[in-house]
Structures are given as C-alpha cells and as structure tokens.
Subunit: 502 residues, 2 copies
C-alpha cells in the first residue's frame, strides 16, 4: 500500500510542479512579458496545459487513487486521505467531462472574452447575450457530467466554494439583504456626515510604493519568499508558498485604492505563504476555497486595515509621506474618510457595506438563469431594477451595469458568491480572534501584527485543505456560516461613523 | 508523406514551446525569483525537464524522423530537410546515451558546481581535481555513445560548434598565437601611450541605464519583443524570437563594462529577434552555433561599438550624460581609452587582443586532457606557464588562474573555442560588409545602424540553421574560417592606437 501511495504522491507532486510552472508563466504574462510575445506565449501555455491535462488524466493515477480510496482508505492517515480525496475529485473533474465539451468550453472562453470586451466597450448587451446563452447551456451540460446529483447551479458553485449550495447560501444572503438595504438607505440620508475630501489630490507614485512595501512587510509579507510588482489588475499569484507574487497598480489620484489593494493581496499572500508545504507539494497543503481565500484578504483589508487601531498606528506615517495632502486631517478623520459609504455602479470599487448587494444581485441572476426563472435577454432590465431596489441607483448604461464583470465571459458561474462568503467568514474569524485575544486592538495600534498573523497561520493557513469550509469555521468559531456577525459589525461601525440611530 | 511530416512538425513545435517555457523559468530564476524559492524552482524545472526529455525521446518521433530521412528525403524541401536533420540529431543525442550515464552527468554537474565554487573561494585546485577527472571520464564515454566516429574531444566541440574539429581549429589558433604573442608584447612596451584614466571615477547607475537602453534601442533592439533587466551575470535569454531578454549589471565605478556588456547582449538579441520564426517554432529557425552566436555579439561590441565612427557618434551623448567625468576628454581619447590593451588574469575581463590567448590556453588544455598528453593534477602548473608564455604574466593563485571559469564544473568541454571562433567570424563578416557597403562607417558615425542590422539580418539571422557555419561563412565571405582577417584588423587598429612599427 505504502508503495502505491508513494507512486500516487510522485504523480501528484509532478502535477503540482507543472502547475507552479504555469503560474509563473501567468505572472510573467501579466507583469513583465513584452507586448509582442503574446502569440508565442499562448502556444507555450497551451503546450504546457496539454501536458498537465495528460498528467491529470493519467489512467495509472486514476487507478491508483481508486485503489487507495476503495481498498486502503483505513490505512491512510488524515492528511493522506485528504490528498487522495482531493486528487480523486480533480481526476474526476478532468476525466468525467467529454473532450468535445472541454474543447467547446475552452473555445467559448477565449472567444467569449473578446466578444465581452467589445460589447462592454460599445454598450451592446445584445452582442454578448448569445455567448452567455451558450455558456449557460454548456455549463448545465458540464454540471450533469461532473455532479449529476447536484442542481446544475450548485455544481458550479461547488467548483469555487466546496460544499456550499443554494440551500446554505440563499438564507444567509436573504438576511444580509434584509438588513443592508435599510442600513445603506439610512447612511445615504446622512451622507454629508463623512468628509472624504482629504483623499482627493495627487499622491506621488514612488512614495505610494514605499508605503505599500512597508505596510505589506509590517503585516507579515515575506519578501524573501515573494515579490511585489505592478500590473493592470492587482492579483496574488506565484508558483509555490515560497514564491508568492502580489501586484497592485498605482494611481496618482488615488492612493487609498492602491494601498488597500496591496493590503488585500497581502492577505491572500499570507495565506499562500502560510500553507503547510513541509507536507510536500500535495493537495492537502493547498488553500481551501475561493471564499476562504477571500476571507483572508478581506480580514486584512477590512477587519484590520479599515479599523481604527490600524488607522491610528499608520496615520502618522501616511501624513509624513504626503504632508501636503493631510495637513489638516487627523487619524480619526482619516478613518472616517476611508470608510465612507456610497452606493455606486461598479462592484470592484464598492465599499464593504454596499459590496454584498452587488454580489447578491449577481447570485440571484445566476440562480434565476440556471433554474430558468430568468431569461438572458431580460438581464439588463433585471440588473437595473435590482440596483435600484438594493442600492437606490440605476446604471446609466450596461457598460457600468450588467456588462461590467468579466466572469460570465469565461463561463465562471458560481464564483461571485465567494466574495461575500469571504466577507462573512472574515467577520466571524475576526470576532473569534477578538474573543481569544481581547487586547489585540492595542497590539495593532502599536504596529504589532505578529499575533494577528500567527492566529491566522495557526487557525487557518496551516490546515490547508484538511477541513471543509464548514468544518473549519465551526472549529474556529463554534458555529456555522452566519451573516449576523457581519451585519452587527457593519451596523455598529457605520452607525458610529454616520451617527445613526439604528 | 506530408501527413507524416506534419505529425513530426507538431511534436517538434511542442518541444520548442516547452523549451520556451523552460527558458522563461531560467530568466525568472536569474532576474526576479525570490531568494527563498530556489528549492521549489529546482523541482519545477526538474519536472519540466522530465517532460521535455520524454517528448524528445518519444519513439513515434524517432520513427517518424527516420522514416522521413530514409524514405521521403527527396520529397522534402531544404527547410524541411533541415528540420528533419536537426531533429534527428537532437533525437540521437538524447537517445544514444544510456540513462545511467545521463543521470551521472546530471548529478556531477550539480555537485561539481558546488565543489568548484568552494574550491575557487578557497584556492584549492586539489579539491576540484576529482570532479574534473570524473567529468573527463564521463565525457569520453559520452562521446563514444553519441559520435563513435569522432575523436572524443571533437565530439564535445561538435556539441557547441557543429562541424568544427581539432583539425580545423588547431591551425587557425596556431596562426593567432604566433601573431598575437608578439603584438601583445609590443603593445606592452608602449603601454603608456594610451591613457584610460578618464574611464575611472563614479558613474550614476540610473544614467548608465538610460544610456544603455538608448544605445541598445538605437542599434536595433526591439523592446516590444524583448526586455532589458539586471542580473548578477549578463546574459541573453527569453522564450522566443518575440520574447528576447537581455540583462546586464551596473557598477558605479565602471560604466564601460556595463555599456559594452549590454551592446554585446544586444548583438545576441538581434540574432534571436532576427530568426525566421514565420517558418514555425522549428529547428530551421534556430540560431546556428555558439560560435556564430558569439560572432553576432562581438560584431556589435567590438567591430562596431569599439570602432571610431561609433565612438565619434556617441561621445557627445556620453559626455553629456557624465559631464564631470569627461570634461577634459574628446571622442578620440575616449576611443583610445576603451581600446586600451592590458594582459590580465581573467578571461571575461580581457580585451579583444588578449582574449584569444585566454581561449587558446584553455583549448590546448582540453585537447591535452582528452588525448592524454596532460594530467588533471598538472593543470595549475600548465596554466600558469602558458599564461606566462602567452601574456607575460603569472596568476598569483589558482582562484584567478585555472579555477576562474565555471565551464569545466559543468562538464562543458569544447565550449571555449566558440568565443574565439566567434571573434574570427565577426571580423570576417565585418570585412565582407565593408566591401559591400564601403560607406557604412559614415552611417555609423551618423548614428544610422539600420544598414548594419539589415545586413546581419539578411546574411545571417534569417537563415537560422539552414547552413553549417562553414557553408555560411563561405556564402558570405567567399572563404573559410580564416584568422588572417582578425590578425590584420588587430595589428592595424592597435598599431595605430599604440603607434607601433609592426
């Protein structure tokens, strides 16, 4: 048995190493690749993808995994079981889908992206609708192949948020909606109570970068096992826990965006750097789900860096860095400014109060598309109506409405919920940490982030894929996914900032 | 037949794409990889190397190639024949060597490098000698496998300089030795006739970089299909003719070194960017040999950039960039300064007059080691004695003597001759260009490098691997490899600079 497990491990590590290579190519493409190299790079990535697919569908691997799962399961320890379980799932995801369907999905992704870019530019949803319809059909077919027992949309969600289903998500999102819509309306009535004008002006790019590097390093990013660079869209990539690469973009007119984006990516990076890679380059060491990953980025971006202790600690440095901009501002005013809440059209620019409604709107649409209660052609109208009901604003066109996100152009249905599941988890984790470390706010105010990072390392990062998200959140917080924490947090925080009587 | 050729092409292109991926990993490792990622990267590269080896030794590929070579040769056009011929050679290089020997060579390379680094640091040749002896034995065995018809050293040379043998190289090197030893001695007697003190001082790194980028771009480097970065050792890498990456290092105390190193690497890069990649990612489009590659870097570095017209064109800009350093210097003095000749211990720092003797010394040692006329243990003595006879200086220790180069620590015997073959080719090509374009010096003096680059593109780059080096040099110059051109060039140039009566 041991020999069989070792053979499987060898194959899985090879796949992991080749995936690491692919990630390096991806980073290179976004960050340093010469503009003229796109065509050659596409061929190189396709060749490597072919090899990885070949390895992932290796019959010997499949047989070995099945053998281990069916005949030797009890002889495996928990980590080994996790490796076999996850590898088997990956194997089945790769092998259960007919080649014809895989090819059609790949082709549509690449074509779909181009169609979407143009449709968004030209504000022509009708041009994008056929792609969306086709994707919907293919993704239903795909769901039937990989998880015939699940509702098609649940199978899609499961790809990003293992174990989550509409049955678990819907009530949680309903609660959120119920509470956030009136909260946002109340904030809007007193919008003038927060003055964010200190964030306007010009902020030298080189100073922004120095600040970003310092804060990222302070909160724990290990530059000897990672890099920070510039790219068009911020992301966290890299090939291995010892090679984690985050990016941001610097705008002269908006230093808060780039700073909080780098804190966000640092949160992802700390998860990656904290993975238990001493256990080998194997599934058990990998990050859990998109939602849990997002909980780590949002933990740092929102729970920590948008909090008062953090603002108090860093405001001196920020004012020192940009003296002209913050001459007449103090730490509390800065805290209020970065937390001002304003409904707007674009999800990626939304604040923490309005963000969940952007997600819920998309979730409801995806759900409706999959269960047939909504039609693709009606989406612009549905979108705008939901925006009006949830946020009180109506997009002036589809470019900043239903066409704004790239996800559907790649067939990524079921991805959006992760963002808000991440926000809910982040708040649950944060409260659990506060209970265990009541003085942690003082540590943060003193610039000591070690206990926070240690807590996350210990509670989340080092467990890799050992538990399901549900098991993990229950181990840490003693309860299931529960949006009450996020609701209470938002009400308390914004009630104070906007002096609301809630 | 056509179908068979297409199948082979598909396999060869896959190998080329995967090799491109490997090159990107290599660049990444040298230029941007975090220091802590070395172990993970080694595993990723090993996994990819395994895949590439598997593809290169694919039995179907071998059969297809043999079939095309044996049964359909006459139906292939010249480019197709080149692809089949080169691919067959690569296939045989990969398959003719027993796995045991490949593994031992790989293991020794990696261990040998570490042993060499330490031995060089500690000036202990005796610690490195066992590695060298073992490599010698293995490389003789290897030669017997891949080219039983060639003398073992010739088989090693052939790997770097296809078709070159001791029979062709020795007389050419003998001529060079005969002429250069007295030339160098004569220069040394009048060393005081060139004052290079203007090159001493401090040169701001950011200004060096601006200058390097401008000059590289001026002479033709296409930054939309390439990059320029900083690394410990300058090199030209990249994954494809549309993705060519050069590096240099900037020293505050030596701007000439970094500038001429970037011109050197630009020469390599122009060759890569000039490859006929419209013919597919196939052997025919690849660069010819190490020697021809080096001819391209030396063409730009020495023939062009160390020439008077180039110095006259750029001296104004250089003085403008570093006004304090060149206040009392003119273009002619600058030309003389960068061309001062001084025997020294280190090959990589040698000038164009003494460089060939560094190479010849190593060539004679490799030849002696392979034919048994020299023993590894005697190398320090042989080395120092040759240095004394050729350059009139004796290394104070082995660190700057026999231990200085890394090549032998990786078993790369037969590589050194390429450097000087490149210098000879460069001079032959240069003279051919002068004859075809008698006014080209004026173009260079006016900063117009287009005709030079075009000529090289046309005569060399666009032919890829179509011809042997011998065929190529005969097509371009009408004669074979001939060191007389280099000798005449050096005598004329340095006779003038040092006012010698030769």
């Amino acid at each position: 048995m041991n020999q069989q497990y070792q053979q499987v491990v060898q194959k899985l590590e090879e796949i992991s190493h080749l995936n690491g290579v692919m990630s390096t190519l991806g980073w290179d493409q976004e960050v340093v690749m010469p503009s003229g190299a796109g065509e050659a790079r596409a061929k190189q990535m396709a060749a490597l993808a072919g090899v990885i697919h070949e390895r992932m569908t290796d019959l010997e691997l499949g047989e070995g995994l099945h053998e281990l799962a069916d005949r030797h399961w009890q002889t495996l320890d928990a980590d080994e079981q996790c490796n076999v379980r996850e590898a088997l799932r990956n194997y089945e995801l790769e092998t259960k889908v007919p080649k014809q369907l895989v090819m059609e999905l790949t082709e549509l992704s690449s074509r779909g992206h181009a169609v979407w870019v143009k449709a968004r530019q030209q504000n022509k949803f009708a041009d994008f609708a056929p792609v969306l319809k086709r994707f919907l059909a293919l993704k239903k077919e795909w769901a039937q192949c990989v998880a015939p027992d699940l509702a098609p949309y649940d199978a899609n969600i499961d790809l990003f948020e293992r174990g989550a289903t509409m049955a678990t998500i819907t009530p949680v999102f309903e609660r959120l909606k119920q509470e956030l819509i009136p909260l946002i309306a109340a904030i809007q009535q007193h919008a003038d109570r927060v003055d964010a004008s200190c964030l306007q002006g010009l902020f030298a790019l080189d100073k922004q970068e120095v600040l970003a590097r310092k804060i990222s390093s302070d909160i724990g990013f290990d530059f000897s096992q990672g890099r920070m660079d510039v790219s068009v869209h911020p992301f966290c990539g890299g090939s291995h826990p010892t090679d984690v690469r985050i990016t941001t973009r610097y705008k002269e007119s908006n230093f808060v965006e780039s700073l909080y984006s780098i804190i966000h990516e640092t949160g992802h990076a700390l998860y990656e750097q904290g993975r238990p890679h001493h256990l080998g380059d194997l599934p058990v060491t990998e990050s859990l789900t998109m939602g849990i990953h997002e909980s780590q980025s949002l933990f740092w971006e929102r729970m920590i860096a948008q909090g008062k202790p953090f603002c108090r600690h860093y405001f001196g440095l920020i004012r020192q860095t940009f003296p002209d901009n913050f001459r007449h501002t103090d730490a509390d005013a800065f805290y209020r400014a970065i937390n001002h809440c304003k409904p707007d059209f674009i999800r990626v620019e939304a604040d923490e109060v309005t963000y969940p409604l952007h997600v819920i709107l998309r979730y409801e649409i995806e759900k409706g598309l999959f269960d047939g209660s909504m039609a693709v052609d009606d989406l612009p109208e549905i979108w705008n109506e939901s925006m009006r009901r949830y946020l009180g604003i109506t997009p002036p066109n589809d470019t900043v409405g239903v066409l704004q996100d790239s996800h559907w152009s790649a067939g990524a249905f079921g991805y959006f919920p992760s963002y808000t599941l991440g926000a809910i988890y982040a708040c649950q984790f944060y409260n659990a940490m506060l209970i265990e470390h009541p003085d942690i706010a003082c540590e943060i105010a003193n610039g000591n982030f070690v206990p926070v990072k240690q807590w996350l390392n210990d509670k989340i990062h080092r467990h890799g894929k050992r538990y399901t998200p549900d098991e993990l959140v229950r181990r840490i917080t003693g309860e299931r996914l529960n949006s009450d924490h996020l609701i209470r947090y938002l009400k308390a925080k914004y009630g104070e900032i906007y002096s609301l009587t809630l």
